[in-house]
Symmetry: none
Subunit: 236 residues, 4 copies
């Protein structure tokens, strides 16, 4: 009964139009639709942000976008699809943002710099996309949850990689440190992400100097937490 599936035909083949003469470009229609979709997604982001996914009504989203409910349903088969699409876009941007955070060259830098390099893009992204937060936590939408879990797992993996790289077994023991097991590393990675997450909440909820203070505090926490288990890279 569902029709589902986004429109977004994007087939700008041009010449394939039936009974079209020659140089008649029958696009431009898509453009309006594309704009509407962006508009609707922006509206959805706002509403999700303010009320959360569950409490957000499609009518409210349509109203926020300045269109009728029917128009919304011309582009999205249901409320969930809006969240999925928006989530997908945000996730994509998140991946991009995080991509530059985990550059290999960062691994050689001392922990404070590494934290800056990794955290700053993540924080910036979340500050610029507050809807990301609203959608990812407690949307209850399978599609979103799954994709978010993938993102989360990805970050977990990357954090673990960084940790593993910084806690090389051979250099681990001068001061009698025991190299952590894989399970321990995973726990640490979970804790790190959790700390980042909870700090992000504080950061997003504040602004200006206070926000900066929380950013600094987050870095302090992680620095103090991780420093003892890290083999400071020798000065090159």
């Amino acid at each position: 009964m569902r029709e589902s599936s986004r429109t977004k035909s994007t087939d700008k083949a041009g010449e394939s139009t039936p009974e079209a003469a020659a140089g008649t470009p029958p696009r431009r229609r898509q453009a309006r639709g594309e704009r509407r979709i962006a508009q609707l997604l922006a509206a959805a982001a706002g509403v999700f942000c303010r009320t959360g996914y569950a409490a957000a009504s499609t009518n409210a989203i349509a109203r926020e976008a300045g269109v009728s409910p029917g128009t919304l349903y011309q582009f999205f088969p249901n409320k969930e699809a809006i969240a999925v699409e928006l989530g997908g876009q945000l996730l994509h941007r998140a991946h991009e943002a995080h991509g530059q955070a985990f550059l290999p060259e960062n691994l050689d830098r001392p922990l404070p710099e590494l934290l800056d390099a990794v955290l700053d893009p993540v924080i910036a992204f979340n500050c610029e996309n507050p809807a990301f937060w609203a959608l990812m936590h407690g949307s209850g939408v399978p599609g979103i949850t799954q994709e978010h879990d993938e993102l989360h797992t990805g970050m977990l993996t990357r954090v673990e990689e960084v940790l593993r790289a910084c806690v090389t077994p051979e250099t681990a023991t001068p001061a009698g440190k025991a190299a952590p097991t894989t399970a321990e590393l995973t726990h640490v990675a979970h804790m790190v992400l959790g700390i980042v997450k909870t700090s992000l909440e504080l950061i997003l909820a504040s602004e200006g100097a206070e926000r900066d203070a929380y950013v600094a505090e987050l870095k302090t926490v992680l620095l103090r937490y991780l420093d003892p288990m890290i083999t400071t890279p020798p000065p090159r």
Copy 2:
């Protein structure tokens, strides 16, 4: 549109019953009411736990409690009031459970012991009252939020007090540490609570040895975070 309003003042001062002599029926009435309320709150706890506050319907709560919706409304003016009351009770139990955590004598003990003393009851309480978690986070309801904020503020205050006690200005500077400002203390307290909260999520989501590992990890994080700003109490 929202009604809010506290409910059921629960002030069973006892003396107010006019025809009270010994074990008379009138007492029965109130006792039955108390029982109903407890029944309803227990049901609400279960439903909130399973579905979250927003998705929980009053009818579902009434059904879970084995009573009719009308009966529910005999004791609570609206859905919000249930959450508020439940939150209040959980808060109360939380205070009871945590009460011993913040005993003044703990303040004199070294940080690791203090952390044990404070965190263990908190963790135990949360493990035993999962509804507490469900209610406090993501209810989005003004009434709840307020109640939760009170709890949160209370804990914040206590944490701040502990911190302030451990970081007394006069003893602060031997190693050249600058005494933190009130604002800084508040930030730290927020961070500490956030870390506890996020760790609690990991703890509640795991069990057995893994749960223990996360508990240990939480303590490690806080220890390393707070240790540098604490004036180690001199051995008595």
Copy 3:
């Protein structure tokens, strides 16, 4: 997500009421509900009759019953359930009505009388329950369709039985008639039912003398159709 399932608890245990004193009969509530259900089914019958199942709106049914849409949904989980319940009741009555039509003693009577005996109750039932018609044909509801198919198959079987009884092979050939095969009998039964069905439409659409005329015409058709293949029972 659906709750489904009729209410109709009907548990008039009486004494089982919690905290009930003694002779307090806590029924009577059911009575109102039962009445409402009947009311709603009657309203549904009317609306289905006028507009057909698909075009009938639940709001229209509720309005016809003089209640709010919510009330309707207190008793029926969805539109389909109304049709199923109504269909079930009508089917039940239909079975009752048809039950007396196919009494064994009718088989010995001459064809005209047998036709009277069988058709009159069927016709009467359909005239008194026009909703039956509306629901059974083209409702598209699986539950209904299935039950109706069962009814139809039942009637088919009974007609076949009657035919088989009246066309006994041993007496079949005095005039050179060949005994029909089972497949042929089935075809005949289908035709007979089809003729009844189509005539019923004409009968239901007319009234008074015209209706009687169509009834007579139906019997004429069947008489002439079936007579040649029937072994007239010898006068007792």
Copy 4:
């Protein structure tokens, strides 16, 4: 609320085109329009067949036709008009197909032959145009109903004519038969059409040998029904 209204008078008188000289473009236009209409009607036939009239959406028809909804409304003022036009065309084809059935010379042939002559084209037509069936029965739309009634009345009239021709009063009484009144004739015609209709359902639902069996059965029914009231034409 209903719009009704016939559509697309299709009066391509030809002369009305101003700039018509020979094979000029203007003609093209109309030709294209004709093609579009045919396309749309074919699509509508398919959709009506699959889902029935009520459940068929104009968007679905447009999609099936490979055009946009706007285009559809360029040729038909509303959904009803599509059904009416399609019904009209089918009716037209039906008339063409049936035309030979009611040829005057058939009236002189003995009933079995007459039945063959009349029924075979009707059956063939319905087997080849299943949409006809879907449209005519259960559309519930005034416009359709009217159109269908016209068709039905037309067939009724023809059947009545045939009957009247075969049951001429003057030749009616040799065996003591009373000439039927007009009202009686109408009833008989209705019954005949009903029998054909119901048999057609069985025929359309089966295939191969079974279908043939039902065709034969239909003819048997009608033969036995009508034979007694027909004055067998004397051999010329």
